[in-house]
């Protein structure tokens, strides 16, 4: 492979807030954690796609404080690899240039000559084999000192993506960086100098780009040496670089000084801050089934449509609609005679939007936030490393939950000051700790946890345990919980 010489690290940008995909996404379950196409979530697919080149020890996820724990839980299905993946925590979202810079300074301390593969966590790539071939090429070119990006061969005059214009092929001119390697030489029509970056164009410009042929969608995937990107940041974003130097000197990236320094960094994209200015940018045209789902209408590009152009999923009944995206859950969702409309139903929230105005969904999320609602924060069913819970109903002084525990999983030993709990076992066997007692509760039996009593729920069996919990008390919020031990690091 010729890639053994340097350490290759993946930096996966996973700080997305999930606003544009509401109500499918929530603050604790943004787009990258959704399973939209293929067999896994976007984030887990992104990680799996890199396995061939990059060991899990060298995969870094950069995300926010709020999301880090949820993402850790989310990675569990990757098995032993999940624990080897490392996290870089952004104390606040500052766009991609500060995130990339923070990752670069972190990696440079471990290996100054490492190669970074920077990629979003929420893009779709369907042709993994081509992606891996192009990535190999990109890594080789990056090792020679270039900033390398993939330009996606446009399928249509899309106005929702940025574009890159390609210039001369790399191998047709004398290389500033020394003689090209054999495989780069053999790929002379596969790598080009980038001549310009263009923000989302209007339709006319996009049509011209498509006609001209040497314009590609900006994939937002970048490959470069850590030392090279730090050089370019120093040159083109000097003030950000100065802030970064200060951060580099800190020993602890969790304290207040770090937060202050980071939040003072210029909020700018790496495209705008570096790629558009640098003279060492290469673009590798690619056609590996890439898609950046910018908002809910983009589902129309990746999910199968019927003969009327509709996408219908879940318990949906449609009569005569055209060009609509209807995602139902298990509740009945009936649509009649709609055109160019997106309808998304979830257990606790429904969105109906014209495709044209779907970007306004952020205003809905803002309204929910302003009204102190919870529908923008979490789904009704919350996945946890030990299983999941679903709030079936919340009333005055009571709350009903369905709790599912994976085989052998256990909740933390805990106590509530303001509520007692009734547990009815619906299937499986529950091992219950209550005060000093430990006893098993079988299917169709129940038990009672008095207020202020130390307790634990555990599944000793080989099948999932399902219980209905009825909380009763003056205050039945999630924060009335004191944990005494926790297998999931939350004490």
């Amino acid at each position: 492979m010729g890639l053994g010489a340097k350490m290759i690290c993946a930096v996966i940008l996973a700080g997305g807030k999930g606003t544009r995909f509401w109500p499918l996404s929530r603050e604790n379950c943004p787009k990258q954690m959704l399973n939209i196409v293929g067999e896994d979530t976007l984030l887990r697919q992104t990680i799996k796609r890199l396995h061939k080149f990059i060991s899990s020890d060298n995969v870094w996820i950069i995300t926010t404080d709020i999301l880090a724990q949820d993402i850790r839980f989310h990675l569990k299905p990757l098995g032993a690899d999940a624990d080897r993946i490392r996290f870089i925590i952004e104390p606040s979202g500052r766009n991609t240039a500060p995130a990339v810079a923070l990752a670069a300074i972190t990696l440079s301390k471990l290996a100054s000559d490492s190669v970074m593969v920077v990629m979003p966590s929420d893009h779709i790539i369907t042709d993994t084999k081509q992606f891996q071939n192009k990535l190999r090429l990109a890594i080789e070119a990056a090792e020679e000192g270039y900033l390398v990006t993939f330009g996606i061969v446009p399928a249509r005059p899309e106005t929702a993506y940025g574009y890159i214009r390609s210039g001369k092929p790399l191998a047709k001119e004398p290389l500033a960086k020394g003689p090209p390697s054999a495989s780069v030489k053999n790929s002379c029509n596969e790598i080009f100098h980038a001549e310009g970056f263009f923000e989302k164009p209007d339709l006319k410009t996009a049509e011209t780009f498509l006609r001209q042929g040497n314009h590609y969608w900006n994939s937002g995937i970048f490959v470069w040496k850590t030392s090279k990107i730090l050089e370019e940041i120093k040159r083109y974003l000097p003030s950000l670089y100065r802030g970064l130097q200060k951060i580099g000197k800190l020993n602890d990236l969790r304290n207040e000084t770090f937060k202050e320094l980071y939040s003072s960094l210029e909020s700018i994209s790496i495209d705008h801050g570096v790629m558009e200015k640098s003279r060492d940018v290469l673009v590798i045209p690619a056609d590996f089934g890439w898609c950046d789902l910018g908002n809910l209408t983009a589902l129309g590009d990746v999910l199968e449509r019927d003969e009327r152009g509709n996408i219908l999923q879940g318990n949906a009944i449609d009569i005569g609609s055209e060009n609509c995206t209807v995602i139902a859950c298990d509740r009945v969702l009936a649509t009649i005679g709609l055109k160019d409309t997106v309808v998304i139903d979830t257990a606790d929230a429904t969105l109906v939007s014209s495709k044209e105005m779907v970007h306004e969904v952020r205003k809905v999320v803002e309204t929910l936030k302003r009204n102190n609602r919870e529908e923008h924060l979490v789904h009704r069913t919350v996945e946890r490393p030990w299983g999941s819970y679903t709030v079936l109903e919340k009333g005055d002084r009571y709350k009903i939950k369905r709790i599912v525990l994976h085989p052998k999983a256990r909740l933390s030993l805990q106590v509530h000051q303001h509520r007692s709990e009734h547990w009815v076992v619906v299937s499986g066997t529950a091992r219950v700790t209550r005060g000093e007692e430990v006893f098993d509760v079988q299917s169709n039996e129940s038990t009672f946890i008095p207020l202020a009593s130390k307790h634990r729920l555990e599944n000793p069996g080989l099948l999932p345990l399902q219980i209905i919990e009825i909380q009763s008390g003056d205050y039945v919020e999630e924060d009335d919980i004191e944990r005494f031990d926790d297998a999931y690091g939350r004490t």
Copy 2:
């Protein structure tokens, strides 16, 4: 009042199936049982509106077998009057002529010279005072042997209603039926001969009608002597009349002979079958805020709109929609940039339809029926005379319900063969009969009803009792119930 001479009976047509208002309406809760405008449901408002002239003993509700019990429960809030209202059961829906004929033959046995006021159970009338004045006039005219109907002064060239054309005023010609009474004489510009009935017109015709001025919306409210309508049925619907004569001879209107006879009657509307043909039809122009909500788009005529023409109810968040009807429940329903769209959300089903195609909702109901679903039959919360229950979740081998019992209410003594039940009292006090025991369960306590154990739930208190019931067993459907006594006549 001059109305004392004859018995005046109301016949309220309440057999509507509730298809066109789905998902607000269900088979056991059709449109007439919905509270759409005003302070009560359409059916209860219809009954209350008649109080002034017609005592509850003379109110007859004609409906189907399926609906009768639900309507009886539904009338309970009317208090002592509710029990005095009588029912005529149609064994199957056969349009309005057979229903009116059945009511006429029933009434004629009690008092051959009674006056019938026939009206639908699901119309809106906002000006009760004017309605009552016009009704008085109609009853007087009916006593003189006319078929009297109200013609609603049209507010717009509506194409969803039938029209009546008025001819000469009643008092300007010699009366065939003898001299008019004083009040009829004083109302010579208030009563006209009907010159023609017109089915729903196209827009051009409706505009012409509006311009001509002597055209009124057909209100579907009729006043006549029982003997007179029977005469006219005999004349214009002779075959239906012959079937009716056979029904008149039956002593029991619940047996198979009746069902067979009734289902063989011609299915035709009273408008088409009699009113269009009879030469003794009078029309009283009226403007008492009448509205027949033909389908969900008609909500736009009776509910308040905002400045963009939208109706927004419940937990709805709208961004930039126009001319839409959005009825949310307590789940969040967000709408963005919609036009001329109806969005109705209920606990277990959502409808999104263009206004233009909303009549196609019947196809949705047919699909639900075909798929053996329940969303067209009942709401998630089912109102009962003793309170209500809500299915919070149904899973494999379990079902969770919230049950609310009115103060002093009790369920029947019952037994289930396939399920046991856990009851957790959330508020109030439950009195539980279990086998031979009777005991009280307080708020935040629970109890267990084993399979095959005779039991009863009762609210001995003065506040509502709220319990969570978790059913567990091989079979958790509503029909696994054997009742031993029942305050509500269901044993």
